[in-house]
Symmetry: C2
Subunit: 470 residues, 2 copies
């Protein structure tokens, strides 16, 4: 007679309701796996192979595989990011990994040399996308979309010299949120900064600060300090280095390498070493030189409004007006921002990581118009989350705390202590799968019980169904 033997337990009761004992299964038992012995390795059948490869098996320079453990970490991070984007009403969008080469040309300034081109195999000339912003602008222009709030999570590729310790790769994920459309000033811009705060708080990365400035203020400073317009770009990229090298070194570069008059450089120095909150905005409004520059005044007016909205959003104290902020990409036209972690290591023995910025963005009102045959503009503002750098931090935190990560979600393991029970195990597990239960078994005709329990232990599978007869 078939018989049903059960160990007590909440989880088993749940299972019981779902399972009918398959005919021929004389005994079903559910127990919590708890053995501590080593995993039974089914010996691999190793045979030498004729076709030996004579090159190194590796991933391309600057790229990597993500192991199951790493995938779990990345998915948790992406989940926080995408949930936030959806909380703010964004729609999803996907674009191809490559674009027509011309689409990317003249969008990235000095960085254009880092674009991966595809080989000309006949047909169109193509390049791998360098960011998600230009494809978004291309999408808007191509489909004549005048208003859209979208998010996009996808890989981008840049032929940078990889310094992998810093979390820089040639292939990496970007998570972008952008608002396209003509709206009243600074409302979408403030939302972008609010989103950055929500995500960085939600990921528990420690304290952070968002530096903001405006391209028009920087241009205004250059103009009133006496920089010739032809040198704006070169001087801007010098200023961009202020987070890595000292003002003394930046000044040296400006004067010696870029031929700026020393007194002009000193005037710039007075400005770009300033940072503060809304009070600095007010101070710059009163600045005798800067207040004469129309562009700078527009930028300052917008920043003032931005800080007002950030106060209403409750995030103003996370944001600093920083005149040294320049941002590399060519397409920005207004407000720009960059989030940096203010990291103190969790443990004294932990090495602090220099992560650079973990999120950044800004306003780019001209980019869509560059793709529109009639030059129709669609103003845009957005942000990009640097997932890889965040990933490095979270990964290190997990290592530090010795957290164990489950790489599968399996709920039930179907085991047997007896020989000749493969048929019953297969019937039973099919019932579990059909009932939507995540289940596994050992791919062996007659497995021993210990290796089966042990697999559960290793994989963190909470429940075992043991099937047998007597």
């Amino acid at each position: 007679m078939p018989q049903l033997g059960l160990l007590p337990g909440r989880a088993w009761t749940v299972l019981l309701g779902l399972l009918r004992p398959p005919p021929g299964a004389l005994c079903i038992r559910a127990v919590r796996s708890h053995s501590q012995v080593a995993e039974a390795l089914i010996a691999s059948q190793l045979k030498p192979h004729q076709e030996k490869s004579n090159f190194t098996i590796k991933t391309p320079k600057g790229t990597r595989d993500l192991s199951p453990q790493q995938m779990v970490v990345r998915e948790k991070i992406l989940d926080v990011v995408v949930s936030c984007f959806k909380r703010h009403g964004a729609k999803g969008l996907d674009t191809p990994a490559f674009e027509l080469k011309e689409i990317l040309t003249e969008k990235y300034g000095e960085d254009s040399g880092l674009i991966y081109d595809l080989k000309d195999q006949g047909g169109e000339l193509l390049s791998l996308r360098y960011d998600l912003t230009v494809p978004f602008a291309r999408y808007l222009a191509m489909n004549k979309v005048k208003k859209m709030k979208r998010y996009h999570v996808g890989k981008v590729w840049r032929r940078e010299s990889p310094t992998i310790v810093q979390g820089r790769y040639r292939e990496f994920y970007q998570c972008d949120f952008d608002i396209a459309g003509q709206f009243d000033p600074m409302i979408p811009d403030a939302e972008c900064l609010k989103i950055m705060c929500e995500i960085l708080s939600g990921l528990h990365l420690g304290d952070f600060l968002i530096k903001v400035s405006d391209r028009r203020i920087l241009d205004g400073i250059f103009a009133v300090c006496g920089v010739p317009e032809s040198k704006f770009h070169a001087i801007c990229s010098s200023v961009d280095k202020l987070d890595k090298i000292s003002w003394k070194d930046v000044r040296h570069e400006m004067v010696v390498k870029k031929g700026l008059a020393p007194e002009v450089a000193d005037r710039i120095g007075d400005y770009v070493q300033c940072h503060g909150g809304i009070s600095l905005v007010e101070q710059m409004f009163q600045d005798p030189r800067l207040s004469q520059n129309k562009q700078a005044l527009e930028g300052l007016g917008d920043l003032k409004l931005l800080f007002e909205y950030l106060t209403l959003f409750g995030v103003a104290e996370k944001v600093s007006f920083d005149l040294s902020l320049a941002r590399g990409l060519d397409y920005y036209t207004g407000v720009i921002y960059e989030a940096v972690l203010l990291q103190t290591p969790v443990h004294a023995e932990e090495e602090p990581l220099n992560m650079g910025s973990v999120a950044a963005g800004g306003r780019y009102d001209g980019l869509v118009g560059m793709f529109d045959p009639r030059g129709h503009k669609v103003p845009c503002v957005g942000l990009s989350i640097g997932v890889e750098r965040i990933f490095s931090i979270v990964e290190q935190r997990i290592k530090t705390f010795g957290e164990k990560i489950r790489t599968t979600e399996t709920q039930v393991f179907v085991a047997t202590p007896q020989k000749n029970f493969l048929q019953e195990r297969l019937k039973l597990i099919a019932e579990l799968w059909d009932a939507g239960i995540k289940a596994e078994l050992m791919y062996k005709n007659n497995p021993k019980l210990l290796p089966q329990l042990h697999y559960c232990e290793n994989m963190g599978i909470p429940l075992v169904v043991i099937i047998g007869g007597h």
Copy 2:
């Protein structure tokens, strides 16, 4: 005095618990949006632009953007697929979009010409991945992994002549599930077929059939029919065309183009036109010629066992032994399978789509060994779901039934009927966001009420908070 005016309703009660009325907000109301007027379009500020582009703005040939509507459909499909993979205990894995060119060389037979190469910009020669199987095998060999059950969802690229009506693109998603390791025969193979059944049933694509065969049986047939071994590949690729052209045409190709003796072709024809269930396997065991071939007997033995397991899994009736199945890729070594939809259009006026196969796979026991410097083999079996073709079917079904798809998940819209309430709206929506509620507002200082309600109507937002004063 502040006053709180509420319409009755379950959802509002939920909201109420979360919201404190911001100071200065004199009246908060929650109503269900139900207006039927047209969406208020905030007029885009259109200015002509100097930098006009003089090339066509498009995506590269054979690629496309996915609109927010399409993204929702694709995410639903991927959700069914990935849930099933996780139900079967698979771990996630990610590999770079490109591999060293040599990794992909000699893995795809005739199709190798369809691989996208990257331009030589100095450094390594790279190619975009052509499938997810070869990168998986490379990962196993590189990391000396002897056993792994993994899934991988990602884009692959093939320079095929795009026939977009059939859902064929040059960039498309693959969803792969593979089991690597030395196990008792046919247990993992049967699970792969079970997974295909679960996914195709779960997607409600109508009736389907999975054709199975074995490379060793096909090779055995060629051998006993008298095909010279040098012509196995060429004749195999002719057989592969049997789902598109008639036996008469395939025979013609074999004899006229590939120089096979007519009587040899006829003998092949007797075999490859056979299909059936387990009884056909038995019949082939009795076949006087085929039963003399060791390879074919091995294949038949495995198929017999496979059908036994499929019966236990309750899916045998979905599977047909089909001797015409050949599968294009070079790396298969044992059982092969391909799922086709048996499609009758939902409506008589609907055009039936020829979707080809929607899922396929097989056993490839030699691929990992090709990457291992010592030739160590890791037997593998797996499957790939053709998401793009499934996508076309689901998309057409949605069009047919006129289903409306929400492209955002916004729960609450913060509106006002009055002027000068931007500050209160911003404070209120920040509270909603901080409480994890998906909320939107109009990016306008003084919006009119109707366009606000109307946006909710269009976007399917179920709740509106109306804030005002008196």
